[in-house]
Symmetry: C2
Subunit: 417 residues, 2 copies
């Protein structure tokens, strides 16, 4: 079988992405949506709301690609230019479109409002193009063909973009799809990238390369090692061999999962399978660990609740940390972390409680306890233990590092329970 690889690229339109107002989410969202079809983007270009520049880019890219997905600039306001740009690129005018009008009426009704021409120009489309239904908002998308390239335009709001790609565009693309990539992912914690590849496992990269293209990606708490498996290795035997190779290296104890799942998903899955309940006592992380766990659908089966004891008064009143412990050791100490975990475990009635107390900065450092210090406690029915760690970074990064370290400690505890 000869595989024909379709060239798929993306153009993102919006001044707000180039002037730091917001961060683009659509590239990753769409890459995820099209991956099961075997597509991945060749290129993604971000441009401002500039008529000429966007027109040029669309004309150039439609020559270099088979499929072009364009997001943004479809809304009702005057900075939304995509429709006119597509009409211009096609050399046609905007005309009233019966299907677009129907979509507009239907969508306004869904949101309990009545559509009229004066409200929005959603019934106007480039002549000869097809409106695309928007399952999550008002503005319809556009499907058109510029030369040999199929062009799909979606709104820029990530939720609308995702819904339109998933429900409307992906079904249209299914028959243009070829068979997919398959990624083998090994997720590790606590060892820097170059320690892995230059010190601990100097031959690992070459060994993995026999299975496909290797890449290494530092993430907040460790490194993801990914192999884009060649077709002959897309099978259980090769995946098993890869695991054996990795687990014969010094990385063994630092591998926490294979596959794309996040640590919070693995925690909910494994705690749930063992019938364990969990909770947190959070100081410096301010609720982030609890929020991260509750991002997982189904977390209510394992997560009972938490106490965010930011002020010392809360540490004393709700989770019963002793006043002397705080006075003698300070809030950021092994002793306080232990009492927080123990006290919260009793208050919450959970099997395992993780506590966090640390200094996220920029203020709050004391002699011997720099910004980035965190003490993490683990309480179970068998007792309590606590560890001290030091990380570097700004406030948000430190909150994240602290949170991830506690989740690793939690996962280890679940696995040994």
């Amino acid at each position: 079988m000869v595989k024909i690889s379709l060239r798929v690229s993306m153009i993102i339109i919006g001044d707000e992405l180039l002037n730091a107002k917001i961060n683009d989410l659509n590239l990753q969202i769409l890459a995820k949506e099209i991956a099961p079809l075997g597509f991945s983007f060749k290129k993604c270009t971000v441009l401002g709301d500039k008529f000429d520049q966007v027109t040029d880019e669309i004309q150039k890219q439609s020559k270099e690609n088979d499929i072009l997905i364009i997001t943004g600039g479809l809304g009702p306001t005057k900075d939304d230019l995509t429709k006119s740009i597509i009409a211009n690129a096609l050399g046609v005018s905007l005309v009233e479109n019966e299907l677009a009008r129907e979509y507009a009426i239907k969508q306004y009704a869904n949101f309990g409002r009545e559509w009229s021409k004066e409200n929005s120009h959603y019934h106007m489309m480039p002549e000869g193009s097809l409106p695309l239904y928007n399952p999550a908002g008002m503005a319809p998308g556009i499907h058109a063909k510029i030369d040999k390239c199929e062009v799909f335009c979606t709104p820029g709001v990530p939720r609308e973009c995702q819904a339109m790609v998933r429900e409307t565009i992906v079904p249209m693309l299914k028959d243009r799809a070829q068979s997919g990539h398959e990624l083998f992912i090994c997720r590790t914690h606590s060892i820097p990238e170059e320690t892995i590849f230059f010190k601990l496992c100097p031959n690992l990269w070459e060994t993995l390369e026999e299975f496909g293209k290797v890449s290494s990606l530092p993430i907040i708490s460790g490194v993801d090692i990914t192999v884009d498996l060649r077709p002959e290795h897309q099978n259980d035997e090769s995946r098993q061999r890869l695991k054996v190779i990795l687990e014969e290296t010094p990385l063994k104890d630092n591998i926490w999962t294979y596959g794309p799942r996040n640590i919070e998903e693995v925690i909910v899955h494994e705690a749930s399978a063992k019938g364990l309940t969990i909770g947190f006592a959070e100081s410096c992380t301010g609720g982030l660990a609890s929020s991260t766990i509750t991002d997982v659908s189904g977390s209510s089966a394992v997560f009972l609740g938490s106490v965010v004891s930011y002020a010392n008064s809360i540490k004393e009143s709700i989770i019963h940390v002793k006043e002397e412990t705080l006075k003698e050791n300070g809030a950021v100490s092994i002793e306080t972390a232990s009492e927080m975990a123990n006290g919260a475990r009793k208050s919450l009635g959970a099997d395992i409680v993780i506590s966090y107390t640390g200094i996220a900065g920029p203020g709050g450092a004391t002699p011997g306890k720099p910004v980035g210090t965190v003490c993490i406690g683990v309480a179970t029915k068998n007792g309590v233990s606590a560890s001290r760690y030091e990380f570097r970074g700004d406030r948000k990064r430190l909150k994240n590092k602290f949170c991830q370290q506690g989740l690793i400690d939690l996962l280890n505890e679940i696995r040994s329970s």
Copy 2:
């Protein structure tokens, strides 16, 4: 004075950005760093780790720009190709560079390790280029000139990229800078974009356009209206006139701030000024509101703590919601929200407590209470009130929507206190 507008673009390199593994953060980070210089990006292109494609793009873009910032592909592993690509584009080889060697030795020492040639090739640079010091990691950046374009390469890890741009590249760019943009930002909540511009304020856009380029951006809880002020309007009088114009429209009560600050920053600032303390009782938001507030440096002056009462047992035990209330009205009800806020206010000892109880889905809907329903309570020394809202979206979006609505309710309460 004649202003020369420098053309600045960005190229981001990394397979992981095109195959959905991670979301790019560097575009927004760098746009923020260069904005004070008066620079904004003309274009940003995301490409995979492909030697030929990246080389082509760099050659093309170096003809169309005065400054080109390239992130990614500088790490120690074999998928890191940027150095070779730059050497290729310059038509030179990689050679040992004395300054790069010094940086490598220094940085390894900072992280408590010893550098040697066998560890990494960080001492190799394209001939004739300048290594850039990396304040936050190991890999040095590159400064080179391709034709008339100045090229800066930074690592892809957002923290390292940001540190290098801020501490090393921005100072180098200062003398190439021209005077800056100034954005007037009006942040509103709870009204959709098209209701604002087509129904409530049909002439607003044109009126604002007299001051500069207008843009409208839907955010999670409302719409940001931004005016990129023309030089003659970059003064207090024009900013004051814009405020008067906006506050004479029906938007008046939905404007919660002017300027770039987030709602959590505004809350911490205003509560702090009034000496008020705050806390949360979070069920469906799972700690997100608390974590959002504690992202703000200085939040410890106002935020005491929270109870994340995910399970009903915690609602009863720690914040004293009555069993009958839960039985008769359900956990998602005005009554439960009120008792949660009141009970948590007593447990936490805070001036204002916001409670959240709702259904983030995908499961958990009951007749009359669809996914997206949330009840939010506000307790103060004067009593308690609660409201019910309905939103749409997936689990993460709903958690966010719930969180933002409660923060708006909190801000209103702080302002009326």
